[in-house]
């Protein structure tokens, strides 16, 4: 049954007709204790939905919709490892990656929790060896630099985590620098290689399939750089001392040259964008130590338990997802801004862009039919205070309705005695609260605004969510990322789409392979469209 055919959807449509006339500022004046009504807590998180254009009735109907869409059953299927990634016929078990030791979960006849922990222990051995300075390069010097080469899920999660949690670097990791390289054009890598010491650099090649051309191109360049530096050492020795492969395709990694002893495995049931909890998280463990990495996992597991066990009406991922459904499908808002008020979370927008848009940016249902409703909106974002000087103009006075997520930590800089730095956090908090207030309530927040000229008016009514962390720690970081993962899953259930595949990225790879041939001298290019032909000719002329 299409979601549009459920009773709740129909009811929500008529409710939306009424609500679309209302303004968030009016909702506040009608019900001054909205915060008590729409503020939800879980462990160290507070989710404030009171600046959304919702009432009690909205939430009730949304929860009804979730029930009619069988959400509780889907949640159960997710956790127990049913093949809910139907187009690829496999489970999506990122939750298993953070399940504590001692639990059992049998999937397709295999006990996987034990395997997960065996892999974590192998990872721990590698981390220990590097941290103790005993991973040696071809000259015998210890490794002090790690470069993670990966793209998409093999890059964004670890990159985000390493930046977000850098202050939790333990002493044994202080002398190790961790870098990330992803872009196919080699620009990041070329820049790095110009100042790294080959004798002390270790490359982590992260690729689920070990066929990702972006990653292999960078890995080949890195290998060539090492070969030039290690003139007398054989390629086999160089690769065995300077490359670790993290992959679900061990044989492909082996044929590239990485011996099994230098490989860390994960499983095909770990989606790329859900993989930072697996051995793909090696850079995180190198930066934070295994203890820190395990804290991130524990935070995520805490959210998993909450998601699995809490009634839908108090369930954070469900609430944030269903309010999204309301905005997208009933208030017709198709843009979503991610606004962390925390420089440490500057990679969160890019991470969520992939997580949400690659998961739910689809228009075909699980049964292969075209959807006749909107699915994933366009997401983008930036550190809030910087975005204030960039695109907030559009949020405040543009023609687009945009829903906004404000993410901020209540506590920061408690360990410093620099009072100015503490003051900067107050400044940051004040801006975060001010912006969500104006975006939701408009210029009603100040007296006499109605007398201002039109170009100085703020219409408000942009729905805002505030996610307030007690403080940003490995634990709360794990919690919020897991919360967004489950939010995406809940929305996919409502929309009847498979969030765990990404067929939309395949064709480009194929066509690029054809075009690679077309770029060689004297290639036949008649089969391409005139635009592509024209561009190819121009490139060819410029390279003569």
């Amino acid at each position: 049954m299409s979601p549009k055919e459920t009773t709740a959807w129909v009811d929500l449509q008529s409710h939306a007709y009424y609500m679309s006339q209302s303004h968030i500022s009016t909702l506040f004046s009608e019900s001054p204790d909205r915060f008590a009504q729409f503020g939800f807590t879980q462990d160290n998180l507070l989710l404030d939905l009171s600046k959304q254009r919702i009432t009690d009735e909205t939430l009730n109907l949304l929860i009804e919709l979730a029930k009619e869409r069988n959400l509780p059953n889907w949640i159960e299927s997710l956790f127990k490892g049913d093949h809910i990634n139907d187009s690829e016929d496999r489970p999506a078990l990122h939750t298993a990656l953070r399940t504590p030791k001692g639990t059992t979960l049998e999937v397709d006849g295999v006990e996987i929790i034990e395997e997960v922990h065996q892999n974590l222990e192998r990872m721990e051995a590698i981390v220990d060896k590097i941290h103790s300075g005993q991973w040696r390069g071809f000259t015998g010097h210890s490794i002090n630099t790690v470069v993670n080469i990966g793209v998409g899920g093999s890059d964004l999660g670890p990159l985000m985590a390493c930046k977000a949690l850098a202050e939790y670097q333990p002493e044994e990791a202080q002398n190790l620098s961790v870098h990330f390289v992803s872009s196919m054009d080699g620009s990041q890598l070329a820049d790095l290689l110009s100042h790294l010491n080959p004798a002390r650099t270790l490359f982590v090649i992260s690729s689920k399939s070990f066929t990702t051309i972006d990653t292999l191109a960078n890995a080949n360049t890195a290998k060539e750089w090492l070969k030039q530096a290690g003139n007398t050492a054989s390629e086999e020795v160089l690769v065995s001392r300077h490359f670790i492969g993290v992959s679900a395709s061990p044989d492909k990694a082996l044929s590239w040259g990485i011996p099994k002893s230098n490989q860390l495995a994960f499983w095909d049931w770990t989606g790329g964008r859900y993989s930072m909890w697996s051995t793909i998280g090696l850079p995180i463990a190198l930066k934070l130590g295994m203890k820190g990495f395990r804290e991130v996992l524990a935070g995520a597991h805490n959210m998993d338990t909450h998601f699995k066990e809490t009634p839908l009406k108090q369930n954070l991922p469900v609430l944030i997802a269903m309010v999204g459904i309301w905005n997208i499908n009933f208030l017709n808002i198709n843009a979503h801004a991610i606004l962390p008020y925390d420089g440490r979370l500057n990679h969160l927008p890019a991470y969520l862009e992939q997580l949400e848009m690659e998961s739910n940016g689809k228009s075909v249902t699980r049964k292969g039919k075209a959807t006749d409703y909107n699915t994933c909106p366009i997401l983008w974002g930036e550190v809030g205070t910087n975005a204030q000087h960039a695109f907030y103009q559009l949020l405040h006075q543009g023609t687009e309705s945009v829903m906004c997520d404000f993410i901020v930590a209540a506590k920061r800089y408690h360990d410093t005695d620099n009072s100015e730095l503490k003051h900067q956090h107050q400044l940051n908090l004040a801006n975060c609260l001010a912006q969500s207030r104006i975006l939701a309530l408009g210029d009603t927040v100040i007296k006499g605004a109605e007398n201002a000229p039109a170009y100085k008016r703020y219409k408000g009514n942009q729905p805002c969510t505030t996610l307030l962390l007690d403080e940003l720690t490995p634990h709360t970081f794990g919690q919020i990322i897991a919360m967004y993962e489950h939010k995406v899953f809940v929305q996919s259930v409502i929309w009847d789409i498979n969030p765990f595949d990404q067929w939309g990225v395949e064709l480009g790879k194929k066509v690029a392979t054809n075009l690679l041939d077309a770029l060689s001298p004297n290639a036949l290019i008649e089969d391409f469209d005139s635009s592509t032909q024209g561009l190819l000719q121009h490139i060819s002329m410029r390279n003569k």
Binding site: Q134, R136, G140, H141, S234
Partner: protein, 422 residues
């Protein structure tokens, strides 16, 4: 003279033994650290040649006794010989002594608390009543400390009080036979001089090691270069032997102190780099072995000759052997080690690790060996029985961390030889 010496390290015990031997009545207070913190690398008297004997003699004669802190306060002459990080203890002691002896109190500071610290201590005393503090830097080298103390060529003394100077000269008179000069300066200058000397020596060692590593790459013999260098009288021969790094408890501690001083005041990384490079240099023999075996040492049997940080001592403080053994263990090697003095210290340091075999005979350590690393140039290693070595070793590979062997002879006998910079 009645003297109390406060401290439990090499300079304290050396001063105590030598001063008691020359007729003074010496009390030594060793248990001063009230927090009960023990320095991680505690000084062992037995590591220092001749010292234990000299102390035993002094105790037997009744001129040296170990006493409690309270008992230690009674004499009017004191030598403070504490660790660089124990300034607060010294300050408390100075205050206590000032109360106990309102006049004619001589405190000789032998500790390296940093430049200016003797003056800071002096401020706790009342100089007009001859409560005086002087700085007498120890010029002791581990392994020959007693001789250094008893036969100095130069005595540097940092002192601004005539009464104190007179007393110090009297105290040191028995050791003035071969003395060429007394160098009198302010305590601050004397402290700086001690630091400066130590830093200079470290720089020379670091420089020659850097040159040796370069020589490796350029395939020239550093020994030839070194001889050329020392023929220049402006340079001279001292502290210019390339090797696998320097160690020792005090030398390293002082350089660390000076390095910090330079970094804080001048933002200078010069000595910091020296220290960091020295740590890398200690692993240089490992790296040669690693490259020889193409980066795979798993299950190899490796022999080490020489474990102490230098010949003539059993001390392994900051010794290259520690780093090399750690690294070999991490790579899965079996290690057979020999040292005339330091074997049991190594066994203890590594908790009698099952893959470390400490043996009494250096040839026994070569049984089925895949390579010999020479880390300390004990004299008994200089001219070994090559045939016996060849017959015992599985692979006749020698990595000479101190350049004591003749490269040509070894190669002609069938050894594979790597030195430092040759």
């Amino acid at each position: 003279m009645k003297i109390t010496i406060w401290g439990n390290e090499l300079p304290a015990w050396t001063s105590a033994a030598a001063l008691a031997e020359s007729g003074n009545h010496v009390k030594i207070v060793t248990g001063l650290d009230q927090a009960g913190n023990k320095n991680e690398i505690a000084f062992k008297i037995s590591n220092e040649p001749g010292l234990q004997h000299c102390i035993d003699e002094a105790i037997r004669s009744g001129r040296l006794q170990s006493v409690t802190a309270e008992d230690g306060l009674t004499p009017t002459t004191h030598i403070i010989s504490l660790n660089p990080d124990e300034y607060e203890i010294a300050a408390q002691l100075a205050k206590d002594l000032a109360v106990k002896h309102p006049s004619n109190l001589l405190i000789i500071n032998q500790s390296h608390f940093g430049v200016g610290s003797t003056d800071k201590l002096q401020e706790l005393l009342y100089e007009p009543y001859n409560q005086a503090l002087a700085y007498l830097p120890d010029m002791l080298a581990e392994g020959s400390a007693l001789n250094n103390f008893k036969n100095p060529e130069t005595i540097i003394v940092g002192c601004s009080n005539d009464w104190a100077l007179l007393n110090i000269k009297a105290l040191m008179r028995p050791f003035s036979q071969s003395l060429k000069q007394w160098m009198l300066m302010t305590p601050k200058e004397a402290e700086f001089t001690k630091f400066a000397n130590t830093g200079m020596l470290a720089l020379r060692l670091s420089y020659i090691n850097e040159l040796a590593n370069l020589a490796d790459h350029l395939e020239v013999d550093i020994e030839v270069i070194r001889e050329g260098m020392i023929s220049d009288p402006r340079i001279g021969p001292h502290y210019l032997h390339p090797g696998c790094g320097f160690g020792g408890l005090h030398f390293q501690q002082y350089i660390e102190g000076l390095s910090e001083l330079m970094e804080v005041n001048r933002n200078s990384k010069l000595l910091n780099t020296v220290l960091a490079e020295n740590e890398k240099q200690k692993e240089q023999p490992f790296r040669k072995l690693w490259r020889h075996y193409e980066c795979d040492l798993k299950d190899k049997t490796v022999t080490i000759w020489g474990l102490s940080f230098k010949p003539g001592t059993a001390s392994i403080d900051n010794a290259p052997s520690l780093k090399v053994i750690e690294t070999l263990l991490a790579q899965g090697c079996k290690i057979q080690v020999h040292d005339p003095e330091a074997g049991s210290n190594i066994a203890q340091h590594f908790n009698n690790h099952e893959r470390i075999d400490v043996v009494d005979c250096c040839y026994q350590a070569l049984q089925n060996s895949d390579g010999l690393l020479l880390l300390t140039e004990w004299s008994e290693y200089w001219s070994p029985e090559y045939d016996e070595m060849l017959s015992k070793m599985r692979h006749p590979l020698i990595i000479d961390g101190r350049n004591i062997f003749d490269k040509e002879i070894l190669q002609s006998l069938g050894f594979t030889y790597y030195g430092v910079g040759r």
